[in-house]
């Protein structure tokens, strides 16, 4: 198939970016979206140009590296998948496809379609963990965890940290990401002790990184490749309110 690509090109973090047009010719419909870009890049390299840079690694939807906004929607409008799982058969001959980086102030562009998502790492470092030293763990079956809690926690734990939630949000809010990690750990008994500290610290770091606020439009859950529900945001709000009150009145 033959397509027209409108691709964001930006040579470095401080350079001015712009949309450039490329013709993608003779693309097999079985190819994946990233393989289509591979083919286009091979052509660019042969003609002496600089290939289109984009993040990608596992190409099976789990590492969270790939991060393209396809026609304005992170990971494309197909639900429950990452960019690397988009296949060309979903497009039609002659289509024009817009390819842009995930956009947010907290995700500055590094080059072309590559953005810096290290803000997510710093949010996890602020409190997205259970502080247990290697070797100090009790016997694994010592704390029974009901299947329902285990499953709910798991649903939140499936987050791959891709940042689509931020990219889709009109406010570039990271609430789904933070809510997912807080829910994963707060639901489990192992994570109860640090619950208040966790939500307060993570939310403060999230704010400091310059993410926006949730206005409950749920674009995030619509594009989440793991289909994490915005219920985790509700839970984060609840846990935060409780933690803030306890912090205000505690000795």
């Amino acid at each position: 198939m033959n397509l027209t690509l409108k691709v964001w090109r930006q040579s470095s973090p401080n350079a001015t970016g712009r949309i450039e047009t490329y013709e993608a010719k003779n693309i097999p419909s079985e190819a994946s979206f990233l393989e289509m870009l591979d083919i286009v890049n091979e052509g660019i390299i042969e003609s002496g140009g600089d290939p289109i840079h984009f993040d990608h690694d596992c190409r099976e939807g789990i590492c969270g590296a790939c991060s393209l906004a396809i026609n304005g929607v992170p990971h494309s409008k197909e639900s429950g998948i990452t960019t690397c799982q988009v296949h060309m058969r979903k497009f039609r001959e002659g289509d024009t496809i817009w390819i842009e980086p995930f956009r947010a102030r907290a995700f500055p562009v590094i080059k072309d379609l590559i953005v810096d998502r290290s803000a997510f790492d710093r949010i996890i470092a602020a409190g997205g963990f259970i502080d247990v030293r290697t070797g100090s763990a009790p016997e694994a079956n010592a704390i029974p965890i009901g299947k329902e809690d285990a499953d709910t926690s798991f649903d939140a734990a499936t987050c791959i940290g891709c940042g689509a939630c931020v990219a889709a949000c009109k406010n570039a809010s990271a609430m789904l990401f933070v809510g997912a990690k807080a829910a994963h750990l707060n639901i489990l008994p192992q994570g109860h002790t640090e619950k208040d500290h966790r939500v307060l610290a993570m939310v403060r770091q999230m704010d400091a990184e310059g993410f926006g606020n949730c206005t409950n439009q749920y674009e995030c859950e619509a594009v989440c490749p793991k289909e994490i529900s915005a219920d985790v945001i509700s839970k984060l709000n609840r846990d935060y309110a409780a933690a803030a009150v306890r912090e205000a009145v505690a000795d």
Binding site: K6, G72, W98, R105, G212, T215, N216, N237
Partner: protein, 250 residues
């Protein structure tokens, strides 16, 4: 600053803290709107009931009640606006670049125009207060209840107030935007308070829509019915008097 003060300041400065303030003040304002609408609907009971109700509001707690209510509502209103404007500024800054190809997957329009519907409501509220509370129009201010010339004729004022088609049009637009604001806002209150879960999700959405529709019908039924002439003509200031209902005064 003491440590409680610090905590409160931190709360205000945090994204979720500010949203909680928006949610709680929003909830108060929704409560006010429901009460206001219920009172307005007394117009369909006739002049006497509505004017009794208005008189009751002005005299409860020896006249202090209405001022407590007004200050409370104004406080909530101002906090709601200040917090929201601050959040919107942060949100604009957080998304400093736009997609060349912009797309929305599931966010309803009402949720995307919150700031515009909100600002319209502010303008409307100011107009509405000068229109029916302060009564800048001397004709409206001078209206007296035909059955008790000592008291103001709210009933007559409403009907007179809606004689101007431009005023009616503004009310329709503003109330529609207010209800659009509420259709997203009410459900959002539950999300921000952390009460939206997998079990309550659908009920909360429907509750938000339901209240918005109810308020839309309730508020707009009055200008609509006045415009089509379904309510009595306004009484003139010189109209004959009627016995005063003491019960309403006490």
């Amino acid at each position: 600053m003491n440590s409680l003060g610090k905590t409160l300041l931190r709360f205000w400065n945090s994204s979720i803290g500010k949203k909680l303030i928006v949610a709680i003040t929003g909830l108060m304002l929704v409560g006010f709107l429901l009460g206001h609408m219920a009172g307005n609907l007394l117009i369909f009971q006739g002049r006497e009931d509505l004017n009794d109700y208005a008189e009751f509001l002005h005299h409860m707690l020896h006249g202090w009640g209405i001022w407590f209510a007004r200050i409370g509502i104004l406080g909530a209103f101002v906090l709601h606006i200040v917090a929201t404007v601050s959040l919107v500024q942060q949100n604009r800054a957080a998304r400093d670049s736009r997609y060349s190809c912009d797309a929305t997957v599931q966010a309803p329009t009402s949720s995307r125009i919150m700031i515009w519907s909100g600002l319209t409501v502010i303008a409307f509220v100011i107009f509405h207060i000068f229109h029916f509370t302060v009564r800048l129009d001397p004709d409206l201010a001078a209206m007296k209840d035909p059955s008790d010339p000592a008291r103001h004729d709210v009933y007559g004022m409403v009907i007179a107030g809606f004689q101007n088609p431009l005023v009616v049009l503004f009310y329709i637009v503003a109330i529609s935007l207010l209800c659009s604001h509420l259709s997203h806002g009410i459900a959002s209150v539950f999300q921000t308070l952390g009460l939206r879960t997998v079990k309550t999700r659908v009920a909360i959405r429907n509750l938000g829509l339901g209240i918005a529709v109810l308020l839309w019908i309730g508020f707009l039924s009055i200008p609509f019915l006045v415009a089509v002439g379904a309510l009595e003509e306004p009484a003139t200031p010189a109209a004959a008097s009627a016995p005063v209902i003491e019960a309403a005064k006490s």
